[in-house]
């Protein structure tokens, strides 16, 4: 079992390596360079050359990639071409506000999904179950940016109750102020993720409820409540945890969009603008970071399976 986990881990590393190489090559093989990303800038060609030289962007691709790789192994992810500051520093500045939003949204959405998913699954085909199913199907169909826009139109403009952008009012850093700013982006993220989770929770619970061993327990005369907490939930926990782990990348993307719509000063917004400006070191770092996150989530899900479910060994 440990051997297969190790093998899996090695494969994951290999894939990460491949992703980084592919991103790097594609990024640099494309014609043009970051200074040309803004066509309105008229630049002195010798200055451009010097600029490229300084950042070693005039070197052959392979040597650029190798030097990047060796620096990464030493923990140096390079400087942003746009801000001329270390990428890691820029990330560290923006991470807290992103984490505040995503972690809160993740916990709330998962909690609600588990409670409501159980409720719906144990009452399969009741009107309530059908309502939850339809609602979640609608929820995964709503484009989150449009949902955000509709909320802004409603609650910031039509009924001016909440601020439409930012993290706080300048000069006011109180908790209440931040909460008021957070409410709409948080709602968009919770709604979208809840809709995804609740479908999985419901079908995971239903899967277990239809197993023979549950029928056996029921025939022994156990109370429904006890069956649910002692037998159904522990078994349904595995797929639920898996789904939660595998949903991390989607959570990340959702945060990017929510931050963009609501002007939330986090990583997501910055990534979008940096990518458009072809800020190479930022693109590389973020892609590598995300790929690692994804690979870790995948790996964790596999490891959990092996640990919890003897049948997969």
């Amino acid at each position: 079992m440990i051997l297969s986990l190790l093998r899996r881990f090695a494969q994951t590393l290999l894939v990460l390596f491949g992703v980084s190489a592919a991103t790097f090559l594609a990024m640099h093989a494309a014609p043009g360079h970051p200074l040309q990303a803004n066509p309105e800038l008229r630049l002195d060609p010798t200055a451009v050359e010097r600029w490229l030289q300084l950042r070693q962007l005039d070197q052959p691709l392979l040597s650029q990639y190798l030097s990047w790789l060796s620096r990464v192994f030493r923990g140096d992810f390079g400087d942003s071409l746009l801000y001329n500051r270390p990428v890691v520093e820029l990330i560290a500045e923006r991470l807290p506000s992103t984490l505040l939003l995503t972690v809160t949204a993740f916990c709330l959405a998962l909690f609600l999904a588990i409670v409501i998913g159980i409720y719906a699954a144990t009452r399969q085909n009741s009107w309530l179950d059908r309502f939850v199913c339809t609602l979640s199907l609608a929820g995964i169909s709503v484009p989150n940016f449009w949902f955000g826009i509709v909320l802004i139109i409603l609650f910031a403009y039509r009924f001016p109750l909440l601020p439409s952008v930012g993290l706080r009012t300048p000069g006011d850093g109180s908790l209440l102020d931040i909460l008021r700013h957070m409410l709409m982006p948080l709602f968009v993220m919770v709604a979208g993720n809840f809709a995804h989770y609740v479908r999985y929770v419901r079908s995971a619970i239903l899967d277990v409820l239809n197993q023979d061993y549950i029928r056996a327990v029921r025939s022994r005369g156990l109370q429904e409540k006890e069956i649910l907490y002692r037998h159904v939930l522990p078994n349904a926990a595995i797929p639920i945890i898996t789904i939660a782990a595998l949903s991390l990348p989607r959570l990340f993307t959702g945060a990017m969009v929510a931050e963009y719509v609501f002007g939330w000063p986090g990583i997501g917004r910055w990534i979008i603008t940096s990518t458009m400006a072809r800020d190479y070191p930022v693109i590389m770092t973020v892609n590598l970071y995300t790929a690692s996150l994804v690979a870790m989530a995948n790996f964790l899900a596999d490891a959990l399976y092996l640990l919890i479910d003897p049948r997969t060994r």
């Binding site: 894939v15 059908r130 199907l137 484009p143 940016f145 826009i149 898996t242 892609n287 995300t290 790929a291």
Partner: protein, 277 residues
């Protein structure tokens, strides 16, 4: 339960048909040209003249939404064809050859499957120029892993069955077994997966265009209309509301149909991951 399934299939399919008709008949249904500006009547609220109001250049939003359906559906369908094609091919190859090729394909699929496609697409579009064919290509090339997994799983499952054994006994070649026996039987799940590929593609196109990286103005798509409307949320709710509503309707209809189809064909949406990868 049966009735519910069929009704979601029915509603989904009706909605899809309606949207396709809108896209095809856009020139007949449109009350104005989608490109005709009318600066005297900019940002007009919905009225008899302009059903969905007008935008910042006085263009008729109703007509633009109708024409936008053409772009969105085209991108969605073409990207899906691409995804299903690549996915089926790679899935067949993985299950057929096994071993190292299987491992490489499936690990690669793992990564593409869970990698935030928006980020991938963002990177690619930032590298090349935003263009409609690139959007299709990129969405198509990121959507294949779920199909590949599915096809591979189906083939591996079906390979054990008696009818394949009997075909082999009769001297059928591997190629014949795959094309004549395995693929047709895997068609149901593939069809469901294809139905669920479309909304994902439509949503990605809309998101990209909203960020300014997808289909470029003045060509109307629902996503870039939303982007256009962003600065006018305070004064013109209709500007952002209607394009988004149609994105929602499209995505919802395909999800409904996919769900209905899945249940009608009795295909399990198992929460258990495909372990044999």
């Amino acid at each position: 339960m049966r009735l519910l399934n069929n009704s979601s299939l029915f509603f989904g399919f009706t909605l899809i048909t309606g949207l396709v008709m809108i896209a095809i008949l856009a020139p007949l249904l449109a009350t104005h040209s989608p490109y005709q500006t009318d600066v005297d009547n900019w940002l007009q609220a919905p009225s008899q003249q302009h059903l969905f109001g007008t935008d910042r250049l006085g263009r008729d939003i109703f007509s633009r939404v109708l024409y936008g359906a053409r772009i969105s559906l085209t991108v969605g369908l073409l990207a899906t064809f691409l995804s299903v094609g690549i996915g089926t091919l790679l899935g067949l190859m993985a299950s057929f050859y096994g071993g190292l090729i299987d491992m490489l394909i499936m690990r690669f699929a793992d990564i593409v499957l869970v990698f935030p496609s928006l980020l991938l697409v963002l990177t690619l579009v930032a590298i090349f120029e935003p263009a409609i064919w690139l959007v299709i290509l990129v969405i198509g090339c990121t959507g294949w892993p779920s199909v590949a997994r599915l096809v591979r799983g189906e083939v591996l499952r079906l390979r054990q069955s008696d009818f394949v054994a009997s075909a082999r006994l009769l001297g059928a070649t591997n190629r014949r077994i795959i094309l004549q026996h395995l693929l047709p039987n895997a068609l149901g799940p593939v069809l469901v997966a294809a139905t669920l590929c479309v909304p994902a593609a439509v949503m990605t196109e809309a998101g990209l265009s909203y960020l300014g990286l997808g289909v470029q103005l003045p060509m109307p798509t629902w996503g870039n209309m939303l982007r256009d409307a962003q600065a006018y949320l305070r004064y013109a709710w209709w500007y952002a509301f209607f394009p988004g509503l149609f994105i929602f309707l499209t995505v919802f209809s395909f999800h409904l149909a996919g769900e209905g189809l899945r249940q009608a064909l009795g295909i399990d949406r198992s929460t258990r991951r495909n372990k044999s990868a």
